[in-house]
């Protein structure tokens, strides 16, 4: 655990504290290398690549776009709700979102 977190701090994007989950989704769904994945997400968010891992910028963006926040703020998208917005923002299919739509009869 401590070792994994060491890597996350030394080299990681920062997960939901920043935009790490979004960049990860582009690598996973489109097989994009890190440069391409970051540029894609930065373009969608309208920020520079450096700001993707800048907590101060990413925090505001996540709140503004309602993409899920790490803090307990009432009234904001959580879990599945946030993933609906992430799929739409990135233009990708998220399997669990697709399942939700089918099973909820939406």
């Amino acid at each position: 655990m401590g070792m994994a977190i060491t890597h996350a701090i030394a080299s990681g994007m920062g997960g939901m504290r920043t935009t790490g989950d979004l960049v990860a989704r582009m690598q996973m769904t489109k097989g994009m290398k890190i440069k391409e994945a970051k540029e894609y997400v930065a373009n969608k968010l309208g920020v520079s690549v450096v700001d993707l891992a800048n907590e101060a910028v990413a925090r505001e963006l996540r709140e503004e776009l309602n993409l899920g926040l790490v803090h307990e703020l009432d009234g904001y998208a959580k879990g599945m709700e946030a993933k609906f917005r992430i799929a739409k923002l990135l233009g990708i299919e998220i399997k669990s979102v697709k399942n939700f739509i089918e099973r909820a009869g939406l």
């Binding site: 030394a10 997960g15 939901m16 790490g20 290398k33 891992a53």
Partner: protein, 348 residues
């Protein structure tokens, strides 16, 4: 003469002169180049690595803008392994909301696809439930672990018993049969988990049982991608070199035994993997500078050959991380920075 504090591959501390550090770096990169038949690091890259190894800071990191994605093997199991009695769904949220993890992996304590098969419906339900409350991408992962298909626990004769008896043909036949079983189980479990909403399937520690293990994973990936073309798949290796336990297994005409990461990744791509987890073993008798130069040399060759993202394995005993269960942050952070900024890793 000024000495630099660094470590051996078993994490024990050692003081080296700067000349010794440089010599270790050169020896490490040359070892990788010789074994992998790949170029050694350039003088400029060695200079950069020397700087990373000899900095006085305890902890180093990448420069702003150079951050990469982190994925995990045995993701939710790690909490249990350090004695934290939390449920797996709680472990996912701890990673998502407290630890800044970019992704997470749902995993069962018996971390092999063969063992997951009888409980796949339970695992699928767990995945479905976890996905409702999770924002970060959530993999499902386990090992191909072809060795589990051997008798007395499994259905095929044990090649580790047959080989010492000189029964080469019988040992090869047993491995070929095990590949069929393993492929079937991995496709079954992978399908279940993807249909349950997994954001990706992780084949972790692939090749642990040798070339048959690697072949089974490649075939399972190809079958899953034919079934679900959009399915993200990460293929993580067990070691830097595919052991030829069979010796004559091929995938798309390429012999698997003896492949290093830069060749392994090409087969991962052909099978349909979307992320490749490269491994470079740590030599516990060698220094950290020797191990990191060697690891970066292999990883650089792999990332240059790859068209898909490469997430380097950097757990205990691989990627220049010492063979020690609490690897020191000084060398772990140095390995992290060097593999990303010189090796050009897309993730860890």
């Amino acid at each position: 003469m000024e000495k630099v504090f660094t470590r051996m591959g078993d994490a024990s501390g050692v003081w080296l002169s700067k000349e010794e550090v440089r010599a270790e770096l050169e020896e490490g990169t040359n070892d990788a180049a010789d074994r992998g038949k790949i170029p050694p690091l350039t003088e400029e890259e060695l200079d950069r690595l020397f700087d990373i190894c000899t900095r006085r800071e305890k902890f180093v990191s990448v420069e702003p803008g150079n951050e990469v994605v982190v994925t995990f093997d045995a993701g939710t199991l790690k909490m249990v392994r350090v004695g934290v009695p939390v449920d797996r769904s709680q472990a996912i949220l701890i990673h998502e909301r407290a630890l800044g993890s970019d992704t997470m992996e749902l995993a069962h304590i018996d971390y092999s696809y063969k063992q997951i098969k009888p409980i796949a419906h339970d695992e699928k339900y767990y995945m479905e439930q976890a996905q409702l409350g999770t924002v970060i991408p959530l993999f499902y992962g386990a090992m191909p672990n072809v060795g589990l298909y051997t008798q007395p626990d499994g259905p095929v004769p044990n090649w580790s018993e047959l080989l010492p008896m000189g029964k080469i043909t019988e040992a090869q036949a047993a491995q070929e049969e095990a590949v069929e079983h393993a492929e079937r189980d991995m496709v079954y479990v992978g399908s279940k988990m993807y249909e349950g909403g997994a954001d990706g399937i992780n084949f972790d520690t692939t090749g642990a049982s040798g070339d048959a293990d690697f072949l089974a994973a490649l075939r399972a990936i190809r079958a899953l991608k034919e079934k679900y073309p959009e399915l993200p798949i990460e293929l993580g290796m067990a070691g830097e070199f595919v052991l030829g336990m069979h010796g004559e297994l091929y995938f798309d005409g390429v012999r698997l035994a003896g492949l290093y990461p830069h060749d392994q990744v090409k087969l991962a791509e052909k099978a349909g993997a979307t992320i490749f987890g490269a491994v470079v073993n740590t030599n516990s008798s060698k220094s950290f500078p020797w191990n990191i130069a060697r690891a970066v040399t292999f990883v650089k060759a792999c990332t240059e050959a790859a068209n898909i993202p490469v997430h380097v394995n950097v757990g205990m005993g691989v990627g220049a991380v010492p063979v020690f269960d609490t690897p020191p942050q000084d060398v772990v952070s140095r390995a992290s920075k060097a593999l990303v900024e010189i090796g050009k890793a897309d993730g860890l």
